[in-house]
């Protein structure tokens, strides 16, 4: 076996070993395990709910409206007689479409803004950061209410809106780590050999800030679900007749006193999802911090 083969094998091994060590550590954390199982369950459900639901979630049955949980309808029926159990299972799709896409958008935008402002600093940085400050002075939901009530709503609008709202938040995080990296000598060394700014930002600095970006992504995903569901609840997101959880809770609210199961089950479902995502995010954060 040649020296080169040997070293490339050891290189692979070392990379695998590191990945395995990180993952092994994650697996040893109970909160990660619980969170991951729940998240995976909801993702599988979001994709394959057609195969999982006992009844068509949109099938109306006015005669069986507002029934409590029975053997036929495990979670009862809603005001149109639709099966709450089926609707709860089908309700994860919309939020699991919106949240990851919005997160991706926000992370991408925030990474670009954070890299550029952090790397260049100076007047542009000061200006952008003031804008970010001003932007952050508005509670997220208020911006969403303002914009969506004016522009009208669609799934795409909600994704873009959450993505745009996340951009300044993410950019702040990225900027703060870029500020630290920028002053390290490897960047000075790159400049001394005549590298361009773009190369330094993308090839030298970016790989060194991936850890905080990953952590931020998982945290943002939790917030994205939070926000998307809240917008649905305020009737500013997904529209009828979607089985979306936030929307269902919003509409079923008026039956709260006679048929609390209509809102209770989607609420619990949503709660498990957001808590699970945050459990995973928190575990990743802890492992990455070491």
């Amino acid at each position: 076996m040649s020296a080169l083969e040997l070293s490339s094998r050891s290189r692979l091994d070392s990379r695998r070993a590191r990945a395995r060590a990180t993952f092994g550590q994650l697996l040893r954390s109970a909160s990660f395990d619980v969170g991951a199982v729940i998240v995976v369950f909801w993702i599988v459900d979001a994709i394959f709910w057609h195969a999982l639901v006992p009844q068509d979630p949109q099938a109306l049955n006015p005669l069986a409206a507002l029934q409590g949980p029975t053997a036929a309808h495990w979670f009862g029926t809603d005001w149109l007689g639709r099966d709450v159990f089926s609707r709860t299972l089908a309700g994860s799709t919309s939020v699991l479409e919106i949240a990851p896409l919005a997160t991706l958008l926000g992370i991408a935008g925030g990474t670009v803004v954070g890299l550029v402002t952090g790397y260049y600093g100076g007047a542009v940085d000061a200006l952008v950061m003031r804008l970010v400050d001003a932007f952050l002075a508005f509670p997220l939901v208020i911006i969403a209410v303002l914009v969506l009530s004016l522009l009208g709503t669609s799934e795409i609008t909600v994704i873009v809106l959450i993505g745009v709202i996340f951009t300044p938040v993410v950019s702040r995080t990225v900027r703060s780590v870029v500020l630290v990296e920028r002053d390290k000598e490897y960047v000075a060394s790159a400049r001394l050999r005549g590298e361009g700014d773009w190369y330094i930002m993308t090839a030298e600095i970016l790989p060194n800030v991936t850890t905080p970006i990953i952590v931020e992504s998982t945290v943002r995903l939790g917030y994205a679900i939070f926000t998307a569901a809240t917008l649905s609840f305020l009737s500013l997101g997904i529209q009828q007749p979607s089985p979306d959880w936030g929307l269902t809770i919003s509409l079923g609210r008026q039956y709260l006193q006679i048929a609390p199961w209509i809102v209770l089950f989607p609420a619990v479902a949503l709660a498990t999802l957001v808590v699970a995502v945050n459990l995973v995010a928190d575990s990743i954060q802890q492992v990455m911090a070491q």
């Binding site: 040997l6 490897y186 001394l192 790989p207």
Partner: protein, 704 residues
């Protein structure tokens, strides 16, 4: 070592073993360590990073990290067992039986509490006196640690004090409850040489007056032996040598101790006469202690028996020292053995003529560099001019805040000068790329100087590509291998990430990277300071070899005068952003020289160990934002003339050929002033530097 224990022991540590658990693995950091400290004795514990010395100190304080596990042994403090002691007993013993001074005084003081109150607390809670009485005692204590104005210091918050003042507060606090044992854990690391010297003087004086026993922990054998009666040398968690300080310093009997001493240029040595003798290889990684003698893999006289089991500490013949080496009585001759091996490895030192008078490769004229932050502007470099010639090593010396790194970065082109001209290269150096291949830089900290996400091959390859635009892929590959070989990296290293390399290897990669474009000038900003002593020498030797081979010019920055003196053809001294002296190395080291240089020299630990007299610096260090009028050094100058120095900026005086200093005192007068003090060392310096035989120099040094 039970025969050493006596009723008179303040501290007795026996068979102490400690591990850290990390990711369910136990890593042994201290193995079977035994030593004791008698009443009033100062004991030094010396070793490099990761050798377990701080862990031992924390074990004595019963303040180990949560993941530390004491595997066995005992720690007795005035006869009482510390391991497993009750919390109430520990609380009582801390401060009154044992107290500690830490490496970083800045973070060891509570930032939201006045330092006077932090000291008074000790009296309040140990002596159970009123706050008024406690405050009064605090004032007395601050007087004892020689604060010029103790009453105002009482009212200060830590951030309002300098590093040296903070460490005085820590010392005052540690001594407040009259402990039987004072532990000093690298108390001067991170402080400037002049401040370090003051703190060490203070500690020396206090220990003598109070009669407190001390456990002094340091990586610097010279400092430890100055303060301590006995010294223990730790390597990879084991005590490898123990004995009277002067014996361990001058006639060490363990190959590691010998290697440590040989790694640092002793006072007066220069590269032209003496090649440093580094310890080959690296210390074992944390928790990976081999079964036999941990040093065997780096040892020139190791034999098969060394690998069987860790050798116990045993007496050496003819001296009082104990050494954990099977060949301890042969070890004294080790220097000769190593020198022979080393000779095959690198070129022998040659005396080269002073390289002045060749063409200039860097010309700095009236350069000014300012920084503004939070509304104030600091002039980090003011009106500075100097020239670097082809093939010479110019050493740049100064303490923190002197502007030496700023100057280096301005020359390298990382900062744009706010005034004056930096000319790099010759007529052919016009484009950015030409400049980049002409001048490169090596930074202090290889951890941050190498992109942690790039493998070594890419780190070198990218630089080869940028600095040698014409090369084909194959030629680039060949060049990478070539560079790797020239900095003594193995081919297998190329596939590793920096994180998998030791500090010394990382710095070799960084040096290799700077040499990929065959530069003419290399700026070296403290290239060996972040490394362990035993690894430093390898790097310095490598730099000397490369410089000779390629006829390079170096701008070499260091706070360590011994290293600068060893390496440099010429030396430049900076103080508060100004060049105060420049000239041929040996000329700068001898009077007449700038009073600041004089102070720096007298604060150098190696110089002190070599018997130089001490001159103290007056007053606090002035701020760059508000530099003193007249001569910037006048507020602290031991030779100040008063009014003139305070008002008129001094001229450059010519001491002798190529040697200038900025002062109002003329060379002849200054020479007289500076030779007035007893300075036996100066004479001896001259003697040893003329001695060209490396091994003789080293073995005679101790006895002279």
């Amino acid at each position: 070592m039970s025969e050493l224990r006596s009723a008179d022991d303040v501290l007795s540590v026996s068979n102490l073993s400690i591990s850290y658990r990390r990711r369910a693995r136990a890593m042994r950091v201290v193995s079977d360590v035994s030593f004791s400290i008698r009443r009033g004795e100062a004991y030094g514990l010396v070793g490099e990073s990761g050798c377990g010395k701080s862990t031992i100190a924390m074990a004595v304080m019963a303040y180990l990290a949560d993941n530390a596990l004491i595997d066995g042994g005992s720690i007795r403090l005035l006869g009482d067992e510390v391991i497993g002691a009750r919390a109430a007993d520990l609380r009582e013993w801390r401060a009154s039986r044992v107290a500690m001074v830490y490496q970083d005084p800045g973070s060891s003081l509570n930032p939201t509490m006045r330092v006077g109150r932090q000291l008074a607390e000790v009296y309040r809670y140990h002596d159970h006196v009123s706050w008024d009485a406690a405050n009064a005692s605090a004032l007395t204590m601050f007087e004892r640690v020689q604060f010029a104005d103790p009453r105002t210091i009482l009212e200060r918050y830590p951030h309002e004090l300098s590093g040296g003042q903070q460490q005085r507060v820590m010392i005052a606090m540690a001594l407040a409850a009259n402990p039987a044992l004072l532990i000093l854990d690298e108390p001067t690391t991170g402080l400037d040489a002049t401040v370090e010297a003051e703190i060490l003087d203070l500690v020396e004086e206090l220990l003598r007056d109070i009669g407190t026993a001390a456990l002094f922990i340091s990586h610097n054998l010279a400092i430890v032996s100055r303060l301590c009666d006995r010294v223990g040398v730790l390597y990879a968690g084991r005590l490898v040598e123990e004995g009277p300080a002067s014996e361990v310093l001058h006639t060490p009997h363990h190959p590691y101790s010998i290697g440590l001493l040989n790694s640092i240029p002793h006072w007066g040595a220069t590269k032209d006469h003496l090649r440093l003798l580094p310890i080959p290889g690296d210390p074992p990684a944390l928790g990976q202690i081999p079964s036999g003698c941990a040093f065997a893999s780096r040892c020139a006289i190791a034999e098969d028996a060394c690998l069987a089991a860790p050798p116990p500490l045993a007496p050496c013949s003819g001296v009082h020292s104990l050494s954990a080496c099977l060949r301890r009585d042969d070890a004294a001759d080790l220097a000769a053995v190593v020198a022979k091996n080393e000779a095959a490895d690198g070129p022998a030192p040659v005396a080269t003529p002073v390289r002045i008078g060749r063409e200039a490769v860097v010309e700095v004229t009236d350069v000014i560099k300012r920084f503004s932050a939070h509304g104030t502007t600091l002039t980090a470099v003011s009106d500075l001019s100097l020239t670097l010639h082809r093939g010479e090593i110019l050493g740049l010396v100064g303490e923190s805040g002197s502007g030496k790194t700023t100057l280096a970065r301005t020359i390298a082109g990382l900062y744009r000068a706010d005034g004056g001209v930096v000319r790099v290269g010759d007529a052919t150096t016009r484009s950015r790329r030409e400049r980049a291949s002409f001048l490169q830089m090596v930074f202090q900290n290889p951890d941050t100087a190498l992109n942690a996400k790039f493998r070594v091959a890419r780190l070198l390859g990218r630089s080869v590509k940028r600095l040698n635009p014409g090369l084909s892929a194959d030629e680039r590959q060949a060049k990478v291998l070539d560079v790797a070989r020239s900095v003594k990296l193995q081919e297998s290293h190329l596939d590793l990430l920096p994180g998998a390399l030791s500090g010394g290897l990382k710095q070799r990669v960084a040096i290799g990277r700077a040499f990929t474009g065959d530069p003419t000038v290399v700026v070296l900003d403290e290239p060996a300071s972040a490394l362990d002593v035993s690894v430093q020498a390898t790097i310095l030797n490598l730099l000397v070899d490369l410089q000779r081979e390629h006829d390079l010019a170096y701008l070499f920055i260091s706070h360590d005068l011994s290293v600068v003196r060893y390496l440099s053809d010429r030396i430049a001294v900076m103080y508060l952003g100004e060049l105060v002296e420049i000239g041929p190395a040996e000329s700068v080291m001898r009077p007449p020289h700038h009073p600041y240089t004089e102070v720096l020299l007298s604060a150098n630990a190696a110089a002190i160990a070599a018997g130089r007299a001490r001159i103290r610096l007056r007053g606090p260090s002035p701020s760059l934002a508000n530099p003193p009028s007249g001569c910037r050094f006048h507020t602290r100058c031991p030779r100040s003339l008063g009014e003139l120095c305070a008002t008129v900026a001094p001229p450059m005086q010519v001491a002798d050929a190529g040697h200038q200093y900025r002062c109002h005192i003329e060379p002849s007068a200054l020479a007289t002033l500076q030779s007035l003090r007893p300075d036996a060392a100066a004479a001896r310096d001259a003697e040893t530097t003329t001695d060209t035989d490396a091994t003789t120099t080293r073995s005679t040094r101790g006895h002279s």
